[in-house]
Symmetry: C2
Subunit: 317 residues, 2 copies
């Protein structure tokens, strides 16, 4: 299987420069001095998550005549909002296929970016999206299983390497694996001595199980949905798993309590609102020190879209 290269990521960086924010590395003055820590706050992207990078690269790559016919995505989460946001920037139509049971607030957020929302029974999402693609001549933008999406997410790794060339460890959340695949591609090319370690919730630890088994191990969706980290309930594709197998130096899992504690710590000490999915790397830094190499560490804080009531609950003291 063909993996993406750092050249793909470099090309993506040029394409997304006007759409995604160039996020800084934020030094954490409360970190263990033996393991200095920087946060990479992707929660500060326009739609509150790194997904805008992959969507921007994938949409920029569509030939112009085709692009005018619009894009389609199926998702109820950050990817939907990212595709809607980027489509608005390109002034092209976007249709987002959303399961009927998605929270009203997420549907509203997607509509607020000017996208058309099609509500369907959850099992019909893929079929309806494909029908829309066929009917309209639009292009499907998948959430992670596509080289252009992976390359877009990888721009995070290029920025880390530019800002902290002697980084020793990068912690990155793993769900569908697009983010981890892209970041690891860039880091391994630019900082070959650095380790890249994935982080998953224990309750959605299918990628950890897959890497241990040396092949894709599937967990039932009902199992993966137990985690509060709703951005980490997907599972790798053949394409992303091939990247993870080749590029990751390991993967650790964290508990729900550790994730909640990390959300609170990021708010109080780093002044960042992270969603549970975005806080897993901080949880790993705090609670998996024995399993991690020491040295200069970057934690990718992948997103900040947490329900206000849930956030207030996690910050209650």
């Amino acid at each position: 299987m063909d993996l993406i290269t750092v050249a793909d990521v470099e090309a993506a960086a040029e394409r997304i420069v006007d759409t995604a924010v160039r996020t800084p590395l934020l030094p954490c003055d409360w970190a263990d001095p033996d393991r200095p820590l920087w946060n990479k706050p992707e929660s500060l992207q326009p739609i509150g998550a790194f997904k805008v990078r992959g969507a921007a690269n994938a949409i920029a790559r569509i030939p112009e005549a085709e692009r005018a016919r619009g894009v389609v995505a199926y998702s109820s989460g950050n990817h939907a909002q990212a595709v809607a946001y980027v489509a608005k920037r390109f002034a092209i139509p976007a249709v987002i296929v959303v399961p009927e049971n998605a929270p009203a607030v997420k549907v509203e957020a997607t509509r607020a970016h000017g996208a058309e929302v099609v509500l369907v029974p959850i099992n019909d999402r893929e079929v309806v999206a494909e029908r829309l693609v066929a009917e309209r001549g639009a292009t499907l933008i998948p959430p992670f299983d596509h080289p252009d999406v992976i390359a877009g997410q990888g721009t995070i790794g290029l920025e880390i390497a530019a800002d902290l060339p002697d980084v020793e460890l990068v912690l990155v959340p793993v769900s569908g694996g697009g983010l981890a695949s892209g970041v690891a591609t860039a880091i391994k090319a630019r900082c070959p001595a650095a380790r890249v370690i994935g982080v998953e919730p224990e309750l959605a630890g299918d990628a950890a199980a897959s890497l241990a088994a040396g092949r894709l191990v599937r967990w039932p969706a009902g199992d993966r949905e137990r985690t509060s980290a709703d951005g980490l309930r997907a599972q790798p594709s053949e394409l992303t798993f091939a990247h993870l197998q080749k590029l990751l130096d390991g993967i650790v899992t964290v508990s729900e309590d550790e994730i909640r504690e990390a959300v609170a710590l990021l708010a109080h000490r780093a002044h960042l609102v992270a969603e549970p999915s975005g806080a897993v790397t901080t949880a790993a830094y705090l609670h998996r020190a024995a399993d991690l190499p020491r040295g200069r560490t970057v934690a990718v804080v992948s997103g900040g879209n947490v329900d206000p009531a849930d956030l207030a609950g996690m910050l209650a003291v």
Copy 2:
């Protein structure tokens, strides 16, 4: 009275490059399209506030032999932590004179940066600080009434001008006036068409009263202490007031309810934890539109050091 110049700010930018974070401008996708809004999140600086910029410039400017004898500051807030943090980076001693009634958590945070903390009755702070300076040959770093401190804070303005050269309005909190003086110096030099408007809490609106009167109007400390924006309870000095008179295009005040609402909005929509003092510019954007020019707007979010229980209270839904 000699005001600082943009050349002073440019020199400061070179001095602080390794100490302060180069914060990005964050586009707000929920803003009024007629008044596109970007946040300048100084809450993401190492000690959680812009104060690290002024402290870094002032300490870098001390001749090396003197600097080795250390620095002194009197403050219980962000300035104390900024001086402690920068002194640690320079490997020099720092003594912070703190009122006995300061919250234990702030005293602890200052000690955590390696500073010596001297607790004194609140009215003795200045006298004790001056005695320490005399005894130790250390240098006093004032919170705002000093050209080097003002020039350091002004680096925020240079960054805004570099990232958004066609900015039309900059909103900046006003307390002692060091931040507003520095930012306005840089913006007026680089973007002469842009307006710079200060924001104060109604309950500590002494600078607004002073600008209206054309002279420094003093409010009793007991009055200024009514606002929850504990970073905005100081009042301008002759030096900062001279800058504000010459450079500000206006000043608006916001209510306590508007500040609380802005803290919640910044958390939920911008994924930033702001302290009340840092949220006043967002409050002004939301509630003083009639008093503000339209067009591309930057809100300086000056800090994020809010008590965890207070934050949870403001985010409760």
